[in-house]
């Protein structure tokens, strides 16, 4: 293949990626956008084997490696539960960062003494950021998968350790750039990996998606830097696109969760170990039976359902819809109040309820539903907790303080479907559970809802 043709096809792939991001930004075209991106990536992958000047020495090995990657990646992506998608994205981001770091390491090993300074700097940059992205993503994965605590991990003097590590990374980077040795590179890589871990540890679980998005943008930048070293326009364009859009997206996500990006990231430097109340205090609560709940619902004029992470865990989306349909058929006005960060990823609830074909009009965003709570008779909170926790308004210093919440306390009655008195993701007590207007129906959300449905039918 001629160099010109190869280059033009590379540009074509860049355009595919732009179209992909464009498509992904609008609900109508999102799926097509993703397919365009996949198509472009496929073209690029086939194309690279025809790059003018390739040696094809290791072609079998390379093809085998690609095949192996496909065999690992596709089933993982296919089999995963909806509720676990965010951690899978974190993992994929991590391996991408790892790959970029490895590519840069190999490039580094090849750099002779003739290498230009910008090339060396770009290589070193890629190694550092790729390592941070790799280890940081692994920690976010562990947090989301609840293989480790979702609470901020803060230890005394932690901020000094983090700052020290960062200084160490930058110092060794200078050394690496000057001496071009392998040993300094390894030390630098290890420090960068450590920094990735330390940087993510103090982030509270609720802020984890923001960090994933940020690390995603980081990985994009490493890819762009690799493109610079390898003189591959495609990598520059694709990596920069991801880096820039990822930065914006991170900011948008932080805004949607009512967090400041700065606070999220540098929380580590300011956060103090917090006294968070443990779950299950021995205080009286009002718990009810499925029949009690059915009666409350049956005589309501307007019911708002607030879904949360528990709905996803219980896979109760179909049952909740069945109940909503039943209520609607009785002439009751039903809506779903969707908090932007209910569940474990932004839009989680929309995705979940769409799966159950809940009518689009019934999904009402937080800003719009909040003013209607005073006119609402019953709010049914299905497996949600943090997103309705008044502590976000009342308790300065608690991990969710400042996050906008669904103001369900304004409604006539609040019913919680949950399994225990355990707190939600942020690990903080919810005073609303003890409120006089609250009724608790303990049990798995799907089972509880099934019982409520049959009770409703018997009324």
């Amino acid at each position: 293949m001629s160099r010109n043709l190869y280059d033009v096809l590379g540009l074509f792939v860049s355009v595919c990626f732009i179209m992909a991001l464009k498509g992904l930004s609008s609900p109508k075209s999102a799926r097509r956008g993703n397919l365009i991106g996949a198509f472009g990536a496929t073209v690029a992958t086939v194309l690279v084997f025809f790059e003018p000047g390739s040696s094809h020495h290791h072609i079998a090995l390379i093809l085998g490696a690609v095949l192996f990657g496909v065999v690992v990646g596709v089933p993982a992506a296919r089999k995963i539960q909806m509720t676990q998608m965010p951690q899978l994205v974190a993992l994929f981001n991590g391996v991408g960062g790892g790959a970029a770091a490895l590519v840069a390491i190999v490039e580094y090993l090849k750099l002779g003494s003739t290498a230009s300074t910008p090339d060396v700097v770009a290589t070193v940059f890629t190694v550092i950021v790729g390592c941070v992205s790799f280890s940081g993503s692994i920690i976010t994965f562990l947090k989301l998968q609840e293989l480790m605590t979702t609470r901020p991990v803060v230890f005394p003097g932690g901020r000094f350790v983090i700052a020290g590590t960062l200084v160490g990374v930058l110092g060794t980077a200078g050394w690496v750039i000057n001496s071009l040795g392998t040993a300094p590179l390894l030390i630098m890589g290890a420090l960068a990996l450590a920094f990735g871990v330390l940087f993510v540890l103090p982030v509270g679980g609720a802020d984890v998606p923001i960090v994933i998005s940020l690390l995603n943008a980081f990985t994009g930048l490493t890819v762009a830097a690799s493109g610079y070293v390898l003189q591959a326009t495609l990598l520059i364009v694709a990596g920069t696109l991801v880096g820039a859009s990822g930065t914006i997206l991170t900011r948008l996500m932080a805004t949607a969760m009512g967090r400041s990006l700065f606070g999220t990231l540098f929380g580590a430097f300011t956060a103090k170990p917090q006294a968070i109340s443990e779950a299950g205090e021995a205080r009286p609560v009002k718990s009810g039976s499925a029949e009690d709940v059915a009666i409350l619902l049956n005589y309501a004029q307007r019911v708002v359902i607030v879904p949360g992470f528990g709905l996803a865990v219980a896979q109760a989306q179909h049952t909740v819809r069945e109940m909503a349909d039943l209520l609607t058929s009785k002439g009751i006005d039903v809506a779903y109040g969707i908090h932007p960060v209910a569940g474990r990823m932004p839009g989680h609830m929309n995705v979940l309820l769409a799966e159950a074909n809940v009518p689009y009009e019934q999904l009402v965003e937080m800003e719009e539903i909040n003013p209607t709570f005073p006119q609402t008779d019953v709010v049914l909170v299905v497996g949600a907790n943090d997103v309705v926790n008044p502590a976000a308004k009342t308790t300065p210093g608690c991990p969710i303080y400042g996050m906008p919440i669904l103001d369900v306390a304004q409604a006539g009655n609040v019913i919680f479907l949950k399994r225990s008195m355990r707190p939600g993701f942020a690990g903080i007590e919810n005073e609303l559970l003890y409120d006089a207007k609250t009724t608790l129906l303990f049990g798995d959300a799907k089972e509880s809802l099934t019982k409520v449905v049959s009770a409703l039918k018997n009324l």
């Binding site: 930004s25 790059e51 990646g73 790959a99 994933i212 994009g220 364009v237 948008l252 995705v351």
Partner: protein, 104 residues
């Protein structure tokens, strides 16, 4: 035009495109967008393959091959998982009558 300038121009212009394209996305699409962007940076696969092709010794080859595997997982897995997420949005708008796909 010098090569450095060309690369710099391309970088700067791409930054603007990245900013512009994403700046108005709705909350619902944040995760699929993140996931799709994540898949796109799997294109480092191209770099990994190039580096593997040019590997000068076994160490380089091994590292590059690991990079190929990781990048492939990132890219292929990323697009598949994004597609799965977006699949669930499908058929939601008014066009879709409620009977379609009620059963799981």
């Amino acid at each position: 035009m010098s090569n450095g300038l060309a690369l710099l121009s391309i970088f700067v212009l791409s930054v603007f495109i990245g900013f512009e394209v994403v700046s108005k996305v709705s909350t619902t699409l944040h995760t699929p967008l993140m996931s799709g962007a994540n898949a796109i940076h799997g294109i480092i696969l191209v770099g990994a393959i190039t580096v593997a092709d040019r590997a000068a010794n076994n160490l380089q080859l091994i590292l590059a091959i690991i990079a190929v595997v990781l990048a492939t997982i990132n890219m292929v897995g990323g697009f598949v998982v994004t597609d799965r997420m977006l699949e669930m949005f499908k058929g939601k708008p008014r066009a879709a009558k409620s009977e379609a796909g009620d059963s799981k």
